[in-house]
């Protein structure tokens, strides 16, 4: 057999390589594995990625710009004022008066700062305790706020603004209380009595919204209304 190689030409060796060398066939599982690996998985629609990107961008822009966008304010001036006084009341409930002054000591200063003179003012009784008085600035107007707390712990805020001319008391909301007919307005879970005294718009805000509480709230209104006389100072 040695002569087979001693004199073997390249061609002979080449033929041996083709004829004698074992050939290994690919196992069937390999073909299956390749085909499976090459089969694309269910792909997302081509339009989905840009749509998702656009939606995400829109949401991001909305989140960024939302805080600086102007708030949607009620078109009705009355609703606007009610919302403003309710916000002021809620702020006071949460964090107290910015600068609590004692009545009647601080009346001259309050008049000077708020532009509202209180010729008469309710300073509390057996049911309502005076808490603080302070000037406020609501709906681009100076005014005065007086805070009370009743025996049950309810906070009440009386606010007087020189805005009577801009407001129209809604007749359907009026509630007869003695000789007065204030309107009962609601906003953000709070209730507010709204009435006019000459050129001054007055508000009494509280969280007394249930039927029982409203009856008590009526009494509080009567006490405040009867003994408080705001007038524009200037």
């Amino acid at each position: 057999m040695s002569d087979r190689f001693d004199e073997s030409s390249d061609e002979t060796l080449g033929r041996r390589l083709v004829g004698d060398l074992p050939r290994y066939a690919a196992p069937a599982r390999l073909r299956v594995a390749i085909v499976e690996a090459a089969t694309p998985v269910a792909r997302r629609p081509a339009w989905l990625a840009p749509v998702l990107a656009a939606a995400a961008t829109t949401m991001l822009l909305a989140l960024v710009t939302l805080p600086v966008l102007p708030r949607i304010v009620p078109a009705d001036p009355m609703q606007r004022y009610v919302r403003a006084v309710v916000s002021e009341h809620a702020r006071t409930v949460m964090w107290g008066a910015r600068r609590g002054e004692i009545l009647p000591t601080a009346l001259p200063w309050l008049t000077q700062e708020s532009g509202i003179a209180l010729s008469q003012v309710f300073v509390g009784d057996d049911r309502l305790q005076f808490v603080a008085a302070e000037p406020v600035y609501l709906e681009r107007q100076r005014g005065v706020a007086i805070h009370y707390r009743d025996v049950d712990g309810h906070m009440l805020t009386y606010i007087a603004l020189p805005a009577a001319a801009a407001l129209t008391i809604p007749e359907p909301a009026r509630v007869p209380i003695g000789r007065w007919r204030p309107a009962l307005m609601r906003d953000s879970g709070y209730a507010a009595w709204v009435w006019k005294q000459k050129d001054v718009a007055c508000f009494l805000v509280s969280d007394m919204v249930s039927a029982d509480d409203v009856e008590t709230f009526k009494e509080y209104f009567a006490r405040v209304r009867a003994t408080t006389e705001p007038v524009p100072a200037y």
Binding site: M1, S2, F5, D6, S8, D10, L13, G14, R16, L17, V18, D20, L21, P22, R23, Y24, A25, A26, P27, L30, R31, A33, I34, V35, A37, A38, P40
Partner: protein, 170 residues
């Protein structure tokens, strides 16, 4: 990913590629991995294949490049000699994997002798003689001039004959 027609054409060469991979890696599991990786690469880069050229040679080229990239690095291949061909006693692909029981057994002296050849020599013989690729295609697969291919074939056969002669005398 490649279209179905390209996949079908490429898979027609599966057996040839697997055979080549077996002689390169010497272990069926490695050959499986190598061939599968080769096809995945071929499908992924099918747009680079120039229609009208030899698909079979292109696949062999991918397979060999993949082998050189991964398997030889993994096996910590010894550095090659200046002419790109290692010395006789410096195997291109270490035979250590054969000891783990997964290496294929050589069936004939010819196969045993071929497996002892350095990778460059083994490849050139498998592609040119066994698979019958034209020298130009072999040169393309091995990224060397045609003259180098001829030289390697000559030297590979010389060494193969020497090995076979040794087996005969034993």
């Amino acid at each position: 990913m490649a279209d179905l027609d390209f996949q079908r054409q490429a898979l027609a060469h599966l057996d040839a590629l697997y055979n080549f991979a077996m002689y390169l890696t010497k272990r069926p599991p490695d050959a499986d991995d190598l061939v599968q990786e080769t096809y995945l690469r071929a499908f992924r880069f099918s747009h680079r294949f120039q229609p009208g050229t030899h698909l079979r040679a292109w696949l062999f080229q991918i397979l060999r490049n993949t082998f050189l990239t991964f398997y030889r690095v993994r096996e910590r291949e010894s550095p090659v000699a200046e002419d790109g061909v290692p010395e006789w006693d410096v195997p291109m692909f270490h035979h250590a994997p054969e000891n783990d029981g997964t290496a294929m057994d050589a069936h004939t002296d010819l196969e045993r002798a071929l497996r002892r050849l350095p990778e460059e020599f083994r490849t050139v013989l498998l592609l040119a003689e066994v698979e019958g690729l034209p020298l130009e295609e072999v040169a393309r697969v091995m990224a060397c001039p045609v003259g180098t291919v001829k030289s390697r074939i000559f030297r590979a056969k010389e060494r193969l004959r020497g090995l076979l002669r040794d087996y005969e005398t034993k």
